[in-house]
Symmetry: C2
Subunit: 304 residues, 2 copies
């Protein structure tokens, strides 16, 4: 089984980290080279990578910085300051604890990455086991290479599934990443705009909804790409099962404690240099929203 | 009070109809010249004008065609075939009935247009009377110049109101038309993407929702721009009043009888020549959806 490039979008080669530039997809499959933690942190801020890519990148940043004899506390601080919604502190504290305990840091990091990979494959297997032949799945944003894997596992079990992908404005991860990675594996996928969900569900065209999550609070609330909440509300109204592929939980008790990142409004008003709105009008761009536990049919945990 | 150009986007001068090209806004305020009914019908098909613009254009097409001694039955047929969701037949049958009854067609058409203008102003007055000082209104797509008028009337009554406009993919009428027409009147407006509605409502930032409608069935169901249904479902969940500015009712009993136009998927995948999605992936573009009567807090009728 060959993974989607989005399943493992970060590589370490020699003294450089190679980061899949998700902003260039689907036109171009290219990697950014980062030679130090500052460059790598900038790639997170500029959303060159996202979701699981951020987790991998944190690990590779520590590995590189450790080899470069950097102050890892300073590195952790820089990572924590990149973006607010993903629980970077959980990861950076973990690595600092390994170091403090005198463990072999390289071994710990490689061990963690290997474990993460296996747990994600397991998560895809669990997801596939929840599906039926002819299921039509609506998804939002991009679940970092997991859905092609889910579809392939399902297929090996004799279950043909197909997808609708919301385009996921303003960054279009649904069109650019999800539809792209599914189509290149010849898995049927149809793009819709974010505002077509209720109509699509009303037609009975969707049997299950599966989304990812950037943050899981202890009470089961999740933060994910802006728009997830609306889909969950709509799914509840139409009684369509709503599944969430979760990261490990953070230490926050409820979703209301998750900090929601607000990004510059030009990222919404301008797309690849093209003005989509009048220049003198302001926009509001929260990058995530929180879906309460009560709207989630089933959490598919990353077993740890 | 000066109207938004979108309030009356069609003009007749001499032997030509001038149609506001809404596809060029907000960059350019320009009119397309149509010298016969075929050219004018093409402008409807290509969505150069929409909503009330289509109603006005139908009237001006008949006026021009009458002066050009065309077969008005043939003209009616061409108009009815342009787009399926707006109830063109109601308008074309009305004009054919006037002709059949031997009435002065020019007088009837000008009378109808004058009445329509006055009824729309009245509709704006009724809407303003429903608002309170500091109301924050979320709207979707574009209600053809009515919202600036509502805000101005409210202001004259000492009520300051502000707006959030969904950008309204794929055609971006919210950003390009609604935000533009409000901002040029210095009425506060903030653009959001279509997937931010639930999050915005969860923050308590919106006090009322007002949308237009392209079709009103006899049971109170309405068809409006794709995405309206989803906003209505979300409004219900958050208990936010959902008002609809309606056209006159058609003869259809329920919304399920309204034909929903499905447009070419390239209109979703390509924006002004820019590819937003992989070329080999298909998309689905229903241009409207039907919001059931039970989700509508109040219909604001065009009194006839």
């Amino acid at each position: 089984m060959k993974f989607s490039p989005l399943f493992w979008p970060i590589q370490l080669k020699g003294n450089s980290i190679y980061i899949l530039d998700e902003t260039l997809l689907p036109q171009k499959l290219a990697y950014i080279k980062a030679s130090n933690y500052q460059q790598a942190c900038r790639a997170i801020k500029e959303m060159k990578t996202r979701a699981v890519g951020q987790v991998l990148l944190v690990m590779y940043i520590f590995l590189l910085s450790y080899r470069q004899h950097k102050d890892l506390k300073k590195v952790a601080k820089a990572i924590n300051a990149t973006r607010p919604t993903l629980a970077f502190e959980v990861l950076t504290n973990m690595v600092l604890t390994w170091q403090k305990s005198g463990l072999d840091l390289e071994k710990c990091i490689f061990g963690f990455l290997e474990m993460l990979k296996n747990k994600r494959i397991k998560q895809a297997q669990v997801t596939a086991s929840l599906l039926k032949d002819q299921d039509v799945i609506l998804t939002h944003c991009n679940v970092s290479g997991l859905l092609p894997l889910v579809a392939e596992i399902a297929k090996s079990q004799g279950k043909e599934i197909s997808f609708y992908a919301t385009e996921t404005r303003p960054y279009l991860q649904g069109s650019r990443l999800t539809a792209w990675e599914l189509a290149r594996k010849h898995i049927p996928v149809t793009i819709i705009t974010d505002n077509m969900v209720a109509y699509l569900l009303s037609l009975g065209k969707v049997t299950k909804i599966i989304v990812g999550a950037d943050h899981l609070a202890l009470n089961g609330d999740i933060a994910n790409k802006i728009g997830t909440y609306q889909i969950a509300v709509t799914a509840k109204y139409f009684k369509i099962p709503f599944y969430v592929l979760c990261p490990p939980p953070s230490k926050l008790k409820t979703g209301s404690e998750i900090k929601i990142e607000v990004r510059p409004d030009d990222e919404l008003k301008i797309y690849q240099g093209l003005h989509l709105a009048p220049k003198n009008v302001k926009a509001y761009y929260p990058a995530f929203d929180v879906t309460p536990n009560k709207l989630i049919t089933k959490h598919i945990y990353l077993e740890v």
